[in-house]
Amino acid sequence: MSLAAEAFVSQIAAVEPWPENATLYQPLKDDQILLSDCASSLAVQTYLRMCGLPVQVACKANAEYMSPSGKVPFVHVGNQVVSELGPIVQFTKAKGHSLSDGLDDVQRAEMKAYMELVHNMLLTAELYVQWCDDSTAAEISRPRYSSPYSWPLNHILAYQKQWDVRRKMKAIGWGGKCLEQVYEDVSQCCQALSQRLGTQPYFFNKQYVTFLSHSHAVRSLPNKASAELTNPRVQIIIARTLSELVHHIVLPARAIIYPQGQDDRLGVSIKLS
Protein backbone atom coordinates (compact mmCIF):
# COMPACT_ATOMS: atom_id res chain seq x y z
CA MET A 1 0.00 0.00 0.00
CA SER A 2 1.24 3.50 -0.61
CA LEU A 3 1.93 5.78 2.31
CA ALA A 4 -1.16 7.90 1.80
CA ALA A 5 -3.43 4.86 1.73
CA GLU A 6 -1.82 3.50 4.87
CA ALA A 7 -2.31 6.78 6.73
CA PHE A 8 -5.93 6.85 5.61
CA VAL A 9 -6.55 3.30 6.83
CA SER A 10 -4.91 4.08 10.17
CA GLN A 11 -7.11 7.07 10.65
CA ILE A 12 -10.27 5.10 10.02
CA ALA A 13 -9.00 2.23 12.13
CA ALA A 14 -8.44 4.46 15.12
CA VAL A 15 -12.08 5.40 15.22
CA GLU A 16 -13.74 2.03 15.84
CA PRO A 17 -12.90 -0.62 18.42
CA TRP A 18 -12.09 -4.20 17.46
CA PRO A 19 -15.34 -5.95 16.51
CA GLU A 20 -16.37 -9.41 17.67
CA ASN A 21 -16.79 -10.84 14.21
CA ALA A 22 -13.29 -10.27 12.83
CA THR A 23 -12.38 -13.05 10.44
CA LEU A 24 -9.05 -14.34 9.20
CA TYR A 25 -9.01 -15.98 5.79
CA GLN A 26 -6.54 -18.60 4.67
CA PRO A 27 -6.45 -21.38 2.08
CA LEU A 28 -8.01 -24.76 2.84
CA LYS A 29 -6.34 -26.33 5.82
CA ASP A 30 -6.20 -29.97 4.88
CA ASP A 31 -5.63 -30.02 1.19
CA GLN A 32 -4.46 -26.74 -0.17
CA ILE A 33 -2.39 -24.73 2.23
CA LEU A 34 1.37 -24.87 1.88
CA LEU A 35 4.08 -24.55 4.51
CA SER A 36 4.88 -20.88 4.02
CA ASP A 37 1.23 -19.77 4.00
CA CYS A 38 0.53 -21.86 7.06
CA ALA A 39 3.42 -20.22 8.88
CA SER A 40 2.26 -16.72 8.03
CA SER A 41 -1.29 -17.53 9.07
CA LEU A 42 -0.14 -19.01 12.35
CA ALA A 43 1.97 -15.93 13.02
CA VAL A 44 -1.02 -13.62 12.57
CA GLN A 45 -3.28 -15.81 14.69
CA THR A 46 -0.75 -15.94 17.49
CA TYR A 47 -0.21 -12.21 17.40
CA LEU A 48 -3.92 -11.50 17.62
CA ARG A 49 -4.39 -13.96 20.46
CA MET A 50 -1.43 -12.47 22.32
CA CYS A 51 -3.07 -9.07 21.98
CA GLY A 52 -6.29 -10.60 23.29
CA LEU A 53 -8.25 -9.81 20.12
CA PRO A 54 -10.85 -12.39 19.10
CA VAL A 55 -10.67 -13.65 15.53
CA GLN A 56 -12.37 -16.49 13.68
CA VAL A 57 -10.50 -18.47 11.08
CA ALA A 58 -12.21 -19.16 7.77
CA CYS A 59 -10.67 -21.44 5.17
CA LYS A 60 -11.46 -20.58 1.58
CA ALA A 61 -10.03 -22.00 -1.60
CA ASN A 62 -9.67 -18.58 -3.21
CA ALA A 63 -8.20 -16.78 -0.21
CA GLU A 64 -5.16 -15.72 -2.18
CA TYR A 65 -7.27 -13.98 -4.79
CA MET A 66 -9.48 -12.26 -2.24
CA SER A 67 -6.48 -10.74 -0.51
CA PRO A 68 -5.75 -7.11 -1.41
CA SER A 69 -2.05 -7.77 -1.85
CA GLY A 70 -2.23 -11.29 -3.23
CA LYS A 71 -0.76 -12.85 -0.11
CA VAL A 72 -2.41 -14.81 2.67
CA PRO A 73 -3.53 -14.47 5.36
CA PHE A 74 -5.72 -11.45 5.49
CA VAL A 75 -8.19 -10.25 8.10
CA HIS A 76 -11.59 -8.76 7.55
CA VAL A 77 -12.25 -6.32 10.37
CA GLY A 78 -15.37 -4.20 10.34
CA ASN A 79 -15.41 -2.82 6.82
CA GLN A 80 -11.67 -3.06 6.21
CA VAL A 81 -9.49 -5.76 4.78
CA VAL A 82 -5.83 -5.91 5.75
CA SER A 83 -3.36 -8.52 4.60
CA GLU A 84 0.05 -9.67 5.80
CA LEU A 85 1.57 -9.42 9.22
CA GLY A 86 3.24 -6.01 8.93
CA PRO A 87 0.12 -4.05 7.95
CA ILE A 88 -2.00 -6.03 10.43
CA VAL A 89 0.37 -5.08 13.25
CA GLN A 90 0.14 -1.42 12.26
CA PHE A 91 -3.63 -1.71 12.00
CA THR A 92 -3.97 -3.11 15.51
CA LYS A 93 -1.54 -0.48 16.76
CA ALA A 94 -3.81 2.21 15.34
CA LYS A 95 -6.63 0.65 17.33
CA GLY A 96 -4.54 0.90 20.46
CA HIS A 97 -3.30 -2.67 20.90
CA SER A 98 0.44 -3.14 20.80
CA LEU A 99 2.92 -5.60 22.25
CA SER A 100 6.08 -3.57 21.90
CA ASP A 101 5.32 -0.45 23.91
CA GLY A 102 7.76 -1.15 26.68
CA LEU A 103 10.81 -1.49 24.48
CA ASP A 104 13.48 1.19 24.31
CA ASP A 105 15.09 2.30 21.06
CA VAL A 106 17.92 -0.21 21.00
CA GLN A 107 15.57 -3.08 21.80
CA ARG A 108 13.20 -1.92 19.14
CA ALA A 109 16.05 -1.91 16.64
CA GLU A 110 17.00 -5.43 17.65
CA MET A 111 13.42 -6.60 17.44
CA LYS A 112 13.01 -5.27 13.93
CA ALA A 113 16.32 -6.75 12.92
CA TYR A 114 15.36 -10.21 14.16
CA MET A 115 11.98 -10.01 12.50
CA GLU A 116 13.71 -9.22 9.23
CA LEU A 117 16.08 -12.11 9.78
CA VAL A 118 13.21 -14.54 10.22
CA HIS A 119 11.34 -13.07 7.29
CA ASN A 120 14.36 -12.94 5.01
CA MET A 121 15.88 -16.27 5.83
CA LEU A 122 13.22 -18.70 6.99
CA LEU A 123 10.36 -17.57 4.81
CA THR A 124 12.54 -17.38 1.70
CA ALA A 125 14.00 -20.79 2.46
CA GLU A 126 10.51 -22.23 2.84
CA LEU A 127 9.50 -20.79 -0.51
CA TYR A 128 12.68 -22.09 -2.09
CA VAL A 129 12.23 -25.62 -0.78
CA GLN A 130 8.58 -25.67 -1.80
CA TRP A 131 8.88 -24.31 -5.32
CA CYS A 132 12.47 -24.39 -6.54
CA ASP A 133 13.23 -27.97 -5.55
CA ASP A 134 11.89 -30.03 -8.41
CA SER A 135 10.87 -33.12 -6.53
CA THR A 136 9.05 -31.22 -3.78
CA ALA A 137 7.33 -28.98 -6.29
CA ALA A 138 6.16 -31.88 -8.41
CA GLU A 139 5.04 -34.16 -5.62
CA ILE A 140 3.66 -31.77 -3.03
CA SER A 141 3.47 -28.09 -3.84
CA ARG A 142 1.83 -28.18 -7.25
CA PRO A 143 -0.76 -30.85 -6.44
CA ARG A 144 -1.68 -29.20 -3.14
CA TYR A 145 -1.80 -25.67 -4.54
CA SER A 146 -4.09 -26.63 -7.38
CA SER A 147 -6.25 -29.19 -5.57
CA PRO A 148 -9.50 -27.12 -5.57
CA TYR A 149 -9.40 -26.56 -9.32
CA SER A 150 -10.28 -28.79 -12.25
CA TRP A 151 -8.24 -29.56 -15.32
CA PRO A 152 -6.70 -27.63 -17.11
CA LEU A 153 -6.84 -24.75 -14.65
CA ASN A 154 -4.98 -26.67 -11.97
CA HIS A 155 -1.93 -27.13 -14.18
CA ILE A 156 -1.92 -23.55 -15.40
CA LEU A 157 -2.24 -21.98 -11.95
CA ALA A 158 0.32 -24.28 -10.38
CA TYR A 159 2.93 -23.64 -13.04
CA GLN A 160 2.21 -19.92 -12.99
CA LYS A 161 2.80 -19.78 -9.24
CA GLN A 162 5.97 -21.81 -9.58
CA TRP A 163 7.28 -19.57 -12.33
CA ASP A 164 6.47 -16.51 -10.21
CA VAL A 165 8.30 -17.79 -7.17
CA ARG A 166 11.31 -18.91 -9.22
CA ARG A 167 11.54 -15.49 -10.83
CA LYS A 168 11.48 -13.85 -7.44
CA MET A 169 14.17 -16.17 -6.11
CA LYS A 170 16.35 -15.35 -9.08
CA ALA A 171 15.87 -11.62 -8.58
CA ILE A 172 16.95 -11.70 -4.96
CA GLY A 173 19.95 -13.89 -5.69
CA TRP A 174 18.71 -17.25 -4.42
CA GLY A 175 18.35 -18.71 -7.90
CA GLY A 176 21.91 -19.96 -8.00
CA LYS A 177 21.80 -21.59 -4.59
CA CYS A 178 21.63 -25.33 -4.19
CA LEU A 179 19.57 -27.11 -1.55
CA GLU A 180 22.59 -27.75 0.66
CA GLN A 181 23.39 -24.04 0.84
CA VAL A 182 19.79 -23.26 1.74
CA TYR A 183 19.91 -25.81 4.56
CA GLU A 184 23.16 -24.28 5.76
CA ASP A 185 21.57 -20.83 5.83
CA VAL A 186 18.53 -22.12 7.71
CA SER A 187 20.77 -23.83 10.22
CA GLN A 188 22.72 -20.63 10.84
CA CYS A 189 19.54 -18.65 11.21
CA CYS A 190 18.14 -21.10 13.74
CA GLN A 191 21.37 -21.05 15.71
CA ALA A 192 21.24 -17.26 15.79
CA LEU A 193 17.66 -17.33 17.08
CA SER A 194 18.51 -19.97 19.63
CA GLN A 195 21.46 -17.91 20.86
CA ARG A 196 19.35 -14.80 21.12
CA LEU A 197 16.62 -16.55 23.04
CA GLY A 198 18.89 -18.32 25.49
CA THR A 199 16.71 -19.65 28.29
CA GLN A 200 14.25 -16.80 28.51
CA PRO A 201 10.57 -17.45 27.88
CA TYR A 202 10.33 -14.70 25.27
CA PHE A 203 12.76 -12.88 23.04
CA PHE A 204 12.11 -9.51 24.61
CA ASN A 205 10.18 -8.67 27.73
CA LYS A 206 7.12 -8.29 25.62
CA GLN A 207 6.27 -11.18 23.37
CA TYR A 208 6.61 -9.41 20.08
CA VAL A 209 9.14 -11.37 18.14
CA THR A 210 8.23 -14.77 19.38
CA PHE A 211 5.11 -15.25 17.41
CA LEU A 212 6.79 -14.84 14.08
CA SER A 213 9.73 -17.05 14.75
CA HIS A 214 7.92 -19.80 16.52
CA SER A 215 5.27 -19.95 13.89
CA HIS A 216 7.94 -20.80 11.37
CA ALA A 217 9.54 -23.20 13.76
CA VAL A 218 6.26 -24.90 14.49
CA ARG A 219 5.37 -25.18 10.87
CA SER A 220 8.71 -26.59 10.05
CA LEU A 221 8.30 -29.39 12.48
CA PRO A 222 6.70 -32.37 10.83
CA ASN A 223 3.01 -32.02 10.30
CA LYS A 224 0.52 -33.28 7.80
CA ALA A 225 1.48 -30.78 5.14
CA SER A 226 5.19 -31.22 5.32
CA ALA A 227 5.51 -34.80 6.46
CA GLU A 228 5.47 -35.81 2.86
CA LEU A 229 8.31 -33.51 1.90
CA THR A 230 10.70 -35.63 -0.04
CA ASN A 231 13.63 -34.16 1.80
CA PRO A 232 12.75 -33.58 5.42
CA ARG A 233 16.25 -32.54 6.38
CA VAL A 234 15.12 -29.00 7.05
CA GLN A 235 12.86 -30.25 9.83
CA ILE A 236 15.71 -32.18 11.38
CA ILE A 237 18.01 -29.18 11.23
CA ILE A 238 15.45 -26.91 12.80
CA ALA A 239 14.44 -29.39 15.47
CA ARG A 240 18.06 -29.94 16.47
CA THR A 241 19.22 -26.35 16.59
CA LEU A 242 16.01 -24.95 17.93
CA SER A 243 15.60 -27.25 20.91
CA GLU A 244 15.47 -24.27 23.27
CA LEU A 245 12.94 -22.53 21.09
CA VAL A 246 10.78 -25.62 20.93
CA HIS A 247 10.65 -26.17 24.62
CA HIS A 248 10.28 -22.63 25.80
CA ILE A 249 8.06 -21.16 23.15
CA VAL A 250 6.48 -23.64 20.81
CA LEU A 251 4.89 -25.93 23.34
CA PRO A 252 3.51 -23.18 25.59
CA ALA A 253 2.32 -21.29 22.54
CA ARG A 254 0.48 -24.31 21.24
CA ALA A 255 -1.38 -24.21 24.51
CA ILE A 256 -2.29 -20.58 23.84
CA ILE A 257 -3.60 -21.19 20.36
CA TYR A 258 -5.14 -24.60 20.82
CA PRO A 259 -6.24 -24.66 24.44
CA GLN A 260 -8.31 -27.81 24.14
CA GLY A 261 -5.56 -29.64 22.34
CA GLN A 262 -7.61 -29.62 19.16
CA ASP A 263 -4.75 -29.40 16.75
CA ASP A 264 -3.81 -32.82 15.52
CA ARG A 265 -1.40 -31.53 12.92
CA LEU A 266 1.18 -30.88 15.54
CA GLY A 267 0.73 -34.30 17.11
CA VAL A 268 3.72 -35.67 15.26
CA SER A 269 5.89 -32.82 16.45
CA ILE A 270 5.69 -33.93 20.06
CA LYS A 271 7.63 -37.09 19.26
CA LEU A 272 10.56 -35.04 17.99
CA SER A 273 10.71 -32.66 20.90
Partner: protein, 307 residues
Protein backbone atom coordinates in the same frame (compact mmCIF):
# COMPACT_ATOMS: atom_id res chain seq x y z
CA UNK B 1 48.03 -17.71 3.16
CA UNK B 2 50.15 -19.33 0.50
CA UNK B 3 47.88 -18.70 -2.46
CA UNK B 4 47.25 -15.09 -3.28
CA UNK B 5 43.71 -13.79 -3.47
CA UNK B 6 42.48 -11.38 -6.06
CA UNK B 7 39.37 -9.30 -5.69
CA UNK B 8 37.67 -7.98 -8.79
CA UNK B 9 35.44 -5.02 -8.22
CA UNK B 10 34.49 -1.64 -9.55
CA UNK B 11 36.98 1.16 -9.12
CA UNK B 12 36.84 4.03 -6.67
CA UNK B 13 35.67 7.62 -6.78
CA UNK B 14 34.11 10.26 -4.52
CA UNK B 15 36.71 9.52 -1.84
CA UNK B 16 35.84 5.83 -1.64
CA UNK B 17 37.94 2.82 -2.64
CA UNK B 18 35.01 1.52 -4.66
CA UNK B 19 31.65 2.97 -5.63
CA UNK B 20 29.89 -0.37 -5.61
CA UNK B 21 28.25 -1.11 -2.25
CA UNK B 22 28.90 -4.86 -2.18
CA UNK B 23 32.52 -4.46 -3.26
CA UNK B 24 32.98 -1.93 -0.46
CA UNK B 25 31.68 -4.47 2.06
CA UNK B 26 34.31 -6.99 0.99
CA UNK B 27 37.09 -4.38 0.85
CA UNK B 28 36.26 -3.16 4.35
CA UNK B 29 36.19 -6.70 5.72
CA UNK B 30 39.55 -7.47 4.15
CA UNK B 31 41.04 -4.44 5.89
CA UNK B 32 39.43 -5.31 9.23
CA UNK B 33 40.57 -8.91 9.20
CA UNK B 34 44.01 -8.22 7.78
CA UNK B 35 43.53 -10.33 4.68
CA UNK B 36 46.07 -9.69 1.96
CA UNK B 37 43.98 -9.27 -1.12
CA UNK B 38 45.09 -7.70 -4.38
CA UNK B 39 42.39 -5.46 -5.70
CA UNK B 40 41.99 -5.45 -9.46
CA UNK B 41 39.35 -3.02 -10.64
CA UNK B 42 37.36 -4.18 -13.62
CA UNK B 43 37.03 -0.66 -15.02
CA UNK B 44 37.74 -0.27 -18.72
CA UNK B 45 37.89 -4.03 -19.25
CA UNK B 46 35.42 -6.44 -20.77
CA UNK B 47 34.94 -7.87 -17.33
CA UNK B 48 32.41 -5.12 -16.72
CA UNK B 49 30.02 -7.24 -18.73
CA UNK B 50 31.07 -10.75 -17.79
CA UNK B 51 31.89 -10.56 -14.09
CA UNK B 52 29.41 -10.29 -11.22
CA UNK B 53 31.08 -8.01 -8.76
CA UNK B 54 32.50 -8.49 -6.26
CA UNK B 55 34.38 -11.62 -7.15
CA UNK B 56 37.18 -13.22 -5.17
CA UNK B 57 39.59 -15.44 -7.05
CA UNK B 58 41.76 -17.73 -4.97
CA UNK B 59 43.71 -20.31 -6.90
CA UNK B 60 41.13 -22.21 -8.92
CA UNK B 61 38.04 -21.22 -7.04
CA UNK B 62 35.96 -18.09 -7.47
CA UNK B 63 33.46 -16.83 -4.94
CA UNK B 64 30.81 -14.18 -5.53
CA UNK B 65 28.31 -12.49 -3.21
CA UNK B 66 29.60 -10.63 -0.17
CA UNK B 67 28.24 -13.11 2.39
CA UNK B 68 29.89 -16.07 0.64
CA UNK B 69 33.17 -14.19 0.26
CA UNK B 70 33.17 -13.33 3.97
CA UNK B 71 32.54 -17.00 4.82
CA UNK B 72 35.39 -18.01 2.54
CA UNK B 73 37.75 -15.54 4.19
CA UNK B 74 36.73 -16.80 7.62
CA UNK B 75 37.60 -20.33 6.56
CA UNK B 76 41.00 -19.05 5.47
CA UNK B 77 41.39 -17.83 9.06
CA UNK B 78 40.83 -14.16 8.33
CA UNK B 79 38.18 -13.60 10.94
CA UNK B 80 37.17 -10.15 12.10
CA UNK B 81 34.41 -11.61 14.30
CA UNK B 82 36.74 -13.60 16.53
CA UNK B 83 36.00 -11.59 19.63
CA UNK B 84 32.25 -11.56 19.32
CA UNK B 85 30.09 -13.57 21.68
CA UNK B 86 27.55 -15.98 20.25
CA UNK B 87 24.77 -13.51 20.94
CA UNK B 88 26.62 -10.73 19.16
CA UNK B 89 27.08 -13.07 16.23
CA UNK B 90 23.33 -13.63 16.19
CA UNK B 91 22.75 -9.87 16.35
CA UNK B 92 25.11 -9.47 13.39
CA UNK B 93 23.02 -11.81 11.27
CA UNK B 94 19.84 -10.00 12.27
CA UNK B 95 21.15 -6.51 11.52
CA UNK B 96 22.61 -7.61 8.20
CA UNK B 97 19.19 -8.97 7.27
CA UNK B 98 17.64 -5.65 8.31
CA UNK B 99 20.06 -3.65 6.16
CA UNK B 100 19.59 -5.91 3.15
CA UNK B 101 15.82 -5.86 3.41
CA UNK B 102 15.19 -2.21 4.23
CA UNK B 103 18.17 -0.19 3.07
CA UNK B 104 19.37 -1.94 -0.04
CA UNK B 105 16.15 -1.54 -2.11
CA UNK B 106 16.13 2.18 -1.39
CA UNK B 107 19.78 2.46 -2.40
CA UNK B 108 19.11 0.59 -5.61
CA UNK B 109 16.26 2.95 -6.30
CA UNK B 110 18.30 6.06 -5.52
CA UNK B 111 21.19 5.15 -7.77
CA UNK B 112 19.57 3.21 -10.59
CA UNK B 113 15.85 3.90 -10.84
CA UNK B 114 15.48 7.55 -9.86
CA UNK B 115 15.61 9.31 -13.22
CA UNK B 116 17.56 12.39 -12.19
CA UNK B 117 20.26 10.54 -10.28
CA UNK B 118 20.60 7.89 -12.95
CA UNK B 119 20.91 10.38 -15.80
CA UNK B 120 23.25 12.80 -14.06
CA UNK B 121 25.46 10.61 -11.93
CA UNK B 122 25.20 6.85 -12.17
CA UNK B 123 24.99 6.28 -15.90
CA UNK B 124 27.75 8.73 -16.86
CA UNK B 125 30.05 7.28 -14.21
CA UNK B 126 29.56 3.64 -15.18
CA UNK B 127 29.55 4.42 -18.88
CA UNK B 128 32.82 6.29 -18.57
CA UNK B 129 34.40 3.29 -16.84
CA UNK B 130 33.34 0.74 -19.45
CA UNK B 131 35.08 0.19 -22.77
CA UNK B 132 33.32 0.91 -26.03
CA UNK B 133 30.77 -0.52 -26.94
CA UNK B 134 29.91 -1.75 -23.46
CA UNK B 135 29.28 1.75 -22.22
CA UNK B 136 25.89 1.49 -23.89
CA UNK B 137 25.04 -1.87 -22.35
CA UNK B 138 26.40 -2.05 -18.83
CA UNK B 139 24.53 0.79 -17.10
CA UNK B 140 21.17 -0.13 -18.60
CA UNK B 141 21.64 -3.77 -17.64
CA UNK B 142 22.32 -2.82 -14.03
CA UNK B 143 19.34 -0.48 -14.05
CA UNK B 144 17.04 -3.22 -15.34
CA UNK B 145 18.28 -5.66 -12.73
CA UNK B 146 17.73 -3.12 -10.00
CA UNK B 147 14.22 -2.34 -11.15
CA UNK B 148 13.36 -6.04 -11.41
CA UNK B 149 14.66 -6.69 -7.97
CA UNK B 150 12.64 -3.89 -6.41
CA UNK B 151 9.49 -4.78 -8.29
CA UNK B 152 9.63 -8.45 -7.44
CA UNK B 153 10.47 -8.11 -3.80
CA UNK B 154 8.65 -4.97 -2.77
CA UNK B 155 5.68 -4.47 -5.01
CA UNK B 156 3.01 -6.72 -3.65
CA UNK B 157 0.45 -6.89 -6.37
CA UNK B 158 1.30 -7.31 -10.04
CA UNK B 159 -0.91 -4.37 -10.86
CA UNK B 160 1.00 -1.80 -8.84
CA UNK B 161 3.84 0.16 -10.38
CA UNK B 162 7.04 1.46 -8.92
CA UNK B 163 5.70 4.89 -8.04
CA UNK B 164 3.36 3.54 -5.41
CA UNK B 165 6.10 1.87 -3.44
CA UNK B 166 8.65 4.67 -3.64
CA UNK B 167 7.31 6.43 -0.59
CA UNK B 168 7.25 3.20 1.41
CA UNK B 169 10.78 2.29 0.23
CA UNK B 170 12.24 5.56 1.44
CA UNK B 171 10.34 5.62 4.72
CA UNK B 172 11.54 2.07 5.44
CA UNK B 173 15.11 3.10 4.62
CA UNK B 174 14.94 6.16 6.87
CA UNK B 175 13.60 4.01 9.68
CA UNK B 176 16.43 1.55 9.12
CA UNK B 177 18.99 4.36 9.31
CA UNK B 178 17.40 5.59 12.54
CA UNK B 179 17.52 2.10 14.03
CA UNK B 180 21.18 1.72 13.09
CA UNK B 181 21.90 5.09 14.62
CA UNK B 182 20.20 4.08 17.87
CA UNK B 183 22.13 0.84 17.96
CA UNK B 184 25.49 2.50 17.29
CA UNK B 185 24.96 5.19 19.90
CA UNK B 186 28.22 6.97 20.63
CA UNK B 187 30.57 4.07 19.94
CA UNK B 188 33.15 3.88 17.19
CA UNK B 189 32.01 0.44 16.05
CA UNK B 190 28.93 -1.65 16.61
CA UNK B 191 30.57 -4.19 18.92
CA UNK B 192 33.25 -2.84 21.17
CA UNK B 193 36.42 -1.19 19.97
CA UNK B 194 37.30 -3.30 16.98
CA UNK B 195 35.32 -3.54 13.75
CA UNK B 196 33.48 -6.69 12.75
CA UNK B 197 31.59 -7.96 9.73
CA UNK B 198 28.49 -5.95 10.70
CA UNK B 199 30.58 -2.79 10.54
CA UNK B 200 31.76 -3.86 7.08
CA UNK B 201 28.21 -4.36 5.84
CA UNK B 202 26.87 -1.13 7.24
CA UNK B 203 29.87 0.81 5.96
CA UNK B 204 29.60 -0.76 2.51
CA UNK B 205 25.97 0.18 2.08
CA UNK B 206 26.05 3.62 3.66
CA UNK B 207 29.31 5.03 2.33
CA UNK B 208 28.21 5.52 -1.32
CA UNK B 209 25.04 7.19 -0.08
CA UNK B 210 27.07 9.53 2.08
CA UNK B 211 29.78 10.40 -0.40
CA UNK B 212 28.17 10.42 -3.81
CA UNK B 213 27.20 13.76 -5.28
CA UNK B 214 23.55 12.91 -5.84
CA UNK B 215 21.47 15.70 -7.36
CA UNK B 216 18.27 14.79 -5.60
CA UNK B 217 18.21 12.56 -2.59
CA UNK B 218 16.10 13.00 0.54
CA UNK B 219 17.68 9.84 1.93
CA UNK B 220 21.14 11.37 1.71
CA UNK B 221 20.06 14.46 3.60
CA UNK B 222 18.45 12.20 6.21
CA UNK B 223 21.71 10.28 6.60
CA UNK B 224 23.68 13.49 6.95
CA UNK B 225 21.51 14.47 9.88
CA UNK B 226 22.55 11.32 11.75
CA UNK B 227 25.91 12.55 12.96
CA UNK B 228 27.05 9.31 14.56
CA UNK B 229 26.58 7.36 11.32
CA UNK B 230 28.50 9.89 9.22
CA UNK B 231 31.19 9.94 11.90
CA UNK B 232 31.31 6.13 11.72
CA UNK B 233 31.86 6.20 7.95
CA UNK B 234 34.49 8.95 8.09
CA UNK B 235 36.29 7.18 10.92
CA UNK B 236 36.60 3.92 8.96
CA UNK B 237 37.72 5.78 5.86
CA UNK B 238 40.36 7.65 7.81
CA UNK B 239 41.70 4.67 9.73
CA UNK B 240 41.59 1.94 7.11
CA UNK B 241 41.45 3.57 3.73
CA UNK B 242 43.59 6.67 4.06
CA UNK B 243 46.52 7.14 1.67
CA UNK B 244 49.18 6.53 4.35
CA UNK B 245 49.36 2.89 5.40
CA UNK B 246 50.51 3.17 9.08
CA UNK B 247 46.87 3.00 10.13
CA UNK B 248 46.31 -0.58 8.96
CA UNK B 249 49.14 -2.67 10.49
CA UNK B 250 48.33 -1.50 14.04
CA UNK B 251 44.83 -3.02 14.18
CA UNK B 252 46.22 -6.27 12.77
CA UNK B 253 48.84 -6.40 15.51
CA UNK B 254 46.18 -5.75 18.13
CA UNK B 255 44.05 -8.54 16.69
CA UNK B 256 46.98 -10.96 16.79
CA UNK B 257 47.70 -10.12 20.43
CA UNK B 258 44.04 -10.42 21.29
CA UNK B 259 43.91 -13.79 19.54
CA UNK B 260 46.89 -14.99 21.53
CA UNK B 261 45.25 -13.87 24.72
CA UNK B 262 42.05 -15.68 23.85
CA UNK B 263 43.98 -18.84 23.02
CA UNK B 264 45.76 -18.73 26.36
CA UNK B 265 42.49 -18.28 28.19
CA UNK B 266 40.99 -21.20 26.31
CA UNK B 267 43.94 -23.45 27.13
CA UNK B 268 43.66 -22.51 30.78
CA UNK B 269 39.96 -23.23 30.82
CA UNK B 270 40.52 -26.60 29.15
CA UNK B 271 43.12 -27.66 31.65
CA UNK B 272 40.85 -26.62 34.51
CA UNK B 273 38.12 -28.74 33.01
CA UNK B 274 40.45 -31.71 32.68
CA UNK B 275 41.40 -31.31 36.34
CA UNK B 276 37.77 -31.30 37.37
CA UNK B 277 37.09 -34.39 35.29
CA UNK B 278 39.98 -36.13 36.91
CA UNK B 279 38.66 -35.22 40.34
CA UNK B 280 35.30 -36.65 39.46
CA UNK B 281 36.87 -39.81 38.17
CA UNK B 282 38.90 -40.22 41.31
CA UNK B 283 35.92 -39.81 43.58
CA UNK B 284 33.79 -42.17 41.51
CA UNK B 285 33.20 -45.46 43.39
CA UNK B 286 33.92 -47.67 40.36
CA UNK B 287 37.40 -46.34 39.97
CA UNK B 288 38.46 -46.47 43.60
CA UNK B 289 41.02 -49.34 43.09
CA UNK B 290 42.89 -47.18 40.55
CA UNK B 291 43.29 -44.27 42.92
CA UNK B 292 47.08 -44.46 43.40
CA UNK B 293 47.70 -44.09 39.63
CA UNK B 294 46.19 -40.68 38.76
CA UNK B 295 48.07 -38.90 41.56
CA UNK B 296 51.45 -38.65 39.77
CA UNK B 297 49.65 -37.67 36.54
CA UNK B 298 47.80 -34.90 38.38
CA UNK B 299 51.06 -33.63 39.79
CA UNK B 300 52.46 -33.44 36.25
CA UNK B 301 49.38 -31.63 35.02
CA UNK B 302 49.50 -29.29 37.95
CA UNK B 303 52.99 -28.24 36.95
CA UNK B 304 52.10 -27.75 33.28
CA UNK B 305 48.94 -25.72 33.82
CA UNK B 306 50.56 -22.32 34.26
CA UNK B 307 51.90 -22.62 30.72
Amino acid sequence: MATSMELRCWGGDWGLPSVHAESLVVLAYCKFSGANVTVSPIDWTWRTLTVTTPELVCGDSTVTEPADILNFLRKQRFNADYELTARQGADTMAYVALVEEKLRPALLHTFWVDAENYANLTRPWFASRSPFPLNFLVPSRHANNALCRILLSKVESPLYSITEVEGKLYSDAKECLNLLSHRLGGDHYFFGNSPSSLDAFVFGFMAPLHKAALPSCPLQSHLRQLANLTGFIDNILAVYFSGSQPGSPVPVQETVDANLQKLTQLVNKESNLIEKMDDNLRSSPQLKPRRPEPKPCLANEGSSTPA
